[in-house]
């Protein structure tokens, strides 16, 4: 069923906007972090991989900002480059500094599996403008997941150092990763309207997807008693790492909004 934006009542539009903002901000922020590997990757292929993923994600975020624009928000560049950290809706997980390659890789795995599943769910959304874009993006993200799966399973069992590094990256990343599924105020509304099946459903699918890969890599998910999701990002609560990132990302735009490059 196709629901034209105009036929959405006020409540529905706000629910869709909230969903689009968090997804677009996740992609923009991780896209920027991925781009920080350009020129610094541990091997040439990884340098290219993280740079390519950055390009994909920033392009995907732009497409979602365009959908927001069609719902009455400002132009994509204005939204992307003129807000302060407390106006961003990304999960805190994605703004953390890249750290060593082991953490970047683990974050890439935990986030990209979730994001690919999110877009798979949205491919059948009743909100057709989003469904159309999701059907395209889910295929692109397949390659991000392939990449993550290969390296996690290879390095998880390569040698003692690589195994220990990935296990400690997983332990550190875990509660942050759970923050990806922080629920918003419109969960029930989005579900009832057939727009999105909700964060809880996504988290269930994510657990099913990551568990066999981590098992193959001989990596253990932290004990459930210690789980304590780092929430807040969806409400604009962020770590001290986001503001400097936003400033760097928007530096050119703030100096000259008409600059082309």
């Amino acid at each position: 069923m196709f629901i034209h934006p105009q036929n959405f009542n006020h409540m529905n539009t706000n629910a869709v906007k909230e969903l689009l903002y968090k997804m677009a901000d996740d992609l923009l922020i991780i896209g920027h972090r991925n781009s920080e590997w350009t020129g610094l990757g541990p091997i040439l292929e990884e340098d290219i991989a993280f740079s390519s993923m950055a390009q994909d994600k920033i392009g995907q975020s732009q497409t979602l900002f365009q959908l927001l624009h069609e719902l009455g928000e400002q132009e994509p560049d204005i939204v992307a480059f003129t807000r302060n950290a407390n106006q961003f809706h990304n999960a805190q997980f994605l703004e953390l500094p890249n750290g060593d390659y082991d953490f970047s890789l683990m974050r890439h795995f935990l986030y990209d599996v979730a994001d690919q599943l999110r877009f798979e769910m949205l491919a059948t959304s009743n909100y057709e403008p989003l469904a159309k874009v999701a059907r395209k993006i889910k295929g692109e993200l397949k390659y991000h997941v392939f990449h993550a799966n290969v390296w996690i399973t290879k390095l998880g069992v390569a040698n003692e150092e690589s195994h220990l590094r990935l296990q400690s990256a997983l332990n550190y990343a875990w509660n942050y990763a759970l923050g990806l599924f922080e629920e918003g105020p419109f969960e029930a509304q989005l579900k009832a309207d057939g727009v999105f099946d909700g964060e809880a459903e996504l988290k269930t699918r994510w657990m099913q997807a990551i568990t066999p890969v981590l098992a193959k890599a001989n990596l253990s998910i932290p004990d459930e008693n210690t789980w304590n999701p780092v929430d807040g990002g969806r409400k604009g609560i962020h770590s001290e790492h986001l503001q400097p990132l936003v400033e760097e990302m928007s530096e050119v735009f703030r100096v000259d909004p008409s600059a082309e490059w």
Binding site: E45, S52, Q55, V133, K142
Partner: protein, 166 residues
């Protein structure tokens, strides 16, 4: 006196054959499958729809401009080129000639998929130089978003492939 020719939709499709992908200069945008609709809306008024291979493709704006320029060269005064996801691109949309052009350019053409791309599908991509399948994928990422990197164990050459995408 200027005479304006009335073009048919087929004329427009034919004319766009000469507009090449800026990153793969042997391949036309038509053979790439990214021109999704052509409409002659009246005398000297043409509407074209395009769709990117990848959402983040940085060349799409440039390609819109190239299409518009080609049509204006033909004397068409009103040209509208729009990028949409109404009919999203997938790699099966490359034409037979498109696949040959890729090979000529030294790029392994994407394997035909059945709506699903698996890692196995990419693992033994046919080498565009010697035709061997004794190859391995080095990385699912390459110099542009639509390419992957491979190595041929028979002719001992590194090569790039055009990714299958659903």
């Amino acid at each position: 006196m200027v005479t304006t020719k009335t073009y048919t939709e087929q004329d427009i499709w034919d004319a766009l054959e000469v507009v090449k992908d800026p990153e793969i200069p042997t391949l036309s945008m038509v053979d790439m499958g990214i021109i999704t609709k052509v409409e002659v809306r009246g005398e000297s008024n043409v509407y074209v729809e395009m769709t990117p291979t990848f959402t983040g493709c940085p060349a799409i704006k440039m390609m819109e401009g190239m299409v518009a320029e080609r049509l204006k060269e033909m004397g068409i005064q009103q040209v509208e080129v729009v990028t949409t996801f109404d009919k999203p691109w997938n790699s099966n949309k490359l034409t037979a000639r498109g696949l040959m052009c890729l090979k000529k350019h030294g790029l392994a053409p994407p394997v035909k998929h059945e709506g699903e791309v698996t890692q196995e599908l990419l693992e033994h991509t046919e080498c565009p130089f010697c035709g061997s399948n004794n190859t391995e994928m080095k990385s699912p990422f390459g110099p542009t978003l639509c390419r992957s990197m491979h190595y041929c164990n028979d002719c001992l050459q590194a090569f790039e492939g055009f990714k299958p995408v659903v």
